[in-house]
């Protein structure tokens, strides 16, 4: 089939949507479901602006087809409500223009949940998946470390 009627589990809700097989999850979230928090950047897997969580792990939504997301638990930045990482980003001024921020937040949210004891190497490895053109990353690292209960 070239089109599919899917029920996607997004931010704790079942959402019905008709997609082409060729539609990426990013396009479906933004263009079909009004969830514009995930940002289109490179559309090539390089920048991380489109990052969401799939079953709790970071996923570049431009690298996943919507049909692949069936049966999975998807969380977008709209699904976070006062998560510790969001507060820490504000407190540490971890953004300037903000375009990369939803992607960074979703990546960092997954990092602190999956690796509460993450060391500097692990933090660097994860943060390398996202690109920010404005900040120097130090503030983002500080925000992650605050949530992890560490001083940077």
């Amino acid at each position: 089939m070239k089109t599919h009627n899917l029920v996607l589990r997004i931010n704790g809700e079942d959402r019905q949507v008709t997609v082409r097989s060729a539609d990426t999850l990013l396009y479906t979230l933004r263009g079909r479901l009004g969830l514009t928090g995930s940002k289109p950047g490179c559309l090539n897997g390089d920048c991380g602006a489109c990052t969401v969580n799939v079953d709790g792990w970071p996923m570049k939504s431009c690298l996943m087809l919507a049909v692949e997301a069936q049966g999975k638990e998807i969380t977008t930045v709209e699904g976070l409500h006062d998560a510790p990482i969001q507060k820490a980003f504000v407190e540490h001024f971890a953004f300037q223009c903000g375009y990369c921020t939803p992607g960074f937040i979703m990546n960092c949210h997954s990092l602190v949940n999956n690796h509460p004891g993450a060391d500097d190497k692990k933090i660097k490895e994860w943060l390398e998946s996202n690109i920010c053109r404005c900040t120097g990353y130090a503030e983002i690292e500080a925000a992650v470390k605050e949530v992890l209960g560490k001083k940077s």
């Binding site: 089939m1 070239k2 599919h4 082409r20 097989s21 060729a22 539609d23 990426t24 396009y27 559309l43 090539n44 897997g45 390089d46 991380g48 990052t51 792990w57 970071p58 996923m59 570049k60 431009c62 690298l63 996943m64 087809l65 049909v67 692949e68 990546n107 660097k124 490895e125 994860w126 390398e128 998946s129 996202n130």
Partner: protein, 283 residues
């Protein structure tokens, strides 16, 4: 946005997948085996890949096998690079895989997709080439097993409609001393200028490279030069450089001359590691 439309099919057995491929090929639909799918999605957007029928291999249980069984480590082709890294049965693979792309992308890229990729770096093949793992291939005529040295010559050698199911690696290799060095033009993620991987076996040093030529390779001539007892270090490197296959890449990542300069230093590092009792790892 991918501009063309395709059917998305999810076979649950190897036979079903192979039969689907044959039928769709006869119907002229350019069927495409899909694993992590990152190439279809990124190249498809640029009209550099095309299919009217995508066969996703991720629902075939054999493609997800992962664990030790008898004398072998069994790894399904649809395992993500992250899954292989986290389980860490094969530290050499972990070292190489953990330098491919970036952490998030590695959750989507699969072992099989990287080995069979059209984009020529295919770095994940290096450990399997050096230990000469067994490759399990499925197709219309059933299942075949081949040594990686026969199955991979610059790229995976598959007949139309065949797909990679599993990689079997003998246990004895899982803890052999290895070194892996990836040099990039800049940054810490993405494609290499050159990646070198080496393993110390009983019969000597084994070496594989990606990013030097437009294909990854292991070369008997290069290994013979590096293992020749009569040679001093300088002669080993000189003869190994002479034995490299051609062409040497000359592109935006680096000129041919720069690559050869970087390669000389990498060979020095490999010999240092060997002489130093294999102490370095994953530089």
């Amino acid at each position: 946005m991918i501009s063309f439309d395709f059917d998305y099919l999810t076979p649950t057995t190897m036979q079903e997948a192979a039969e689907l491929f044959q039928r769709l090929d006869q119907e002229g639909k350019s069927p495409y085996y899909y694993s992590g799918g990152t190439e279809l999605i990124t190249l498809g957007r640029l009209n550099m890949a095309y299919s009217e029928a995508v066969i996703d291999l991720k629902n075939i249980p054999e493609c997800h096998a992962h664990g030790l069984s008898g004398d072998f480590l069994v790894q399904g082709s649809a395992l993500s690079l992250t899954a292989a890294e986290v389980a860490n049965f094969f530290p050499f693979l972990t070292s190489v895989a953990s330098q491919v792309a970036d952490h998030t992308a590695r959750g989507k890229i699969t072992i099989g997709g990287n080995i069979c990729a059209a984009i020529f770096y295919r770095e994940a093949v290096l450990p399997y080439l050096l230990v000469d793992s067994t490759v399990i291939i499925a197709g219309n005529k059933g299942i075949t097993a081949k040594k990686m040295s026969d199955a991979f010559k610059e790229k995976i050698q598959l007949k139309k409609g065949e797909f990679l199911v599993q990689l079997l690696t003998e246990r004895k290799w899982l803890n052999a001393p290895f070194i892996h060095i990836k040099r990039r033009q800049q940054w810490q993620t993405g494609y290499p200028l050159i990646t070198i991987a080496a393993l110390q076996a009983e019969d000597g040093l084994r070496v594989g490279l990606s990013g030097l030529c437009p294909f990854p390779f292991r070369s008997a001539a290069v290994e013979a030069a590096l293992n020749k007892k009569e040679f001093n270090r300088e002669e080993k490197i000189r003869e190994a450089l002479k034995a490299m296959p051609s062409p040497i890449l000359d592109d935006v990542e680096g000129s041919k001359e720069y690559r050869l300069f970087a390669l000389r230093n990498l060979l020095e590092e490999i010999l240092n590691w060997q002489e130093g009792g294999f102490k370095l790892e994953n530089t």
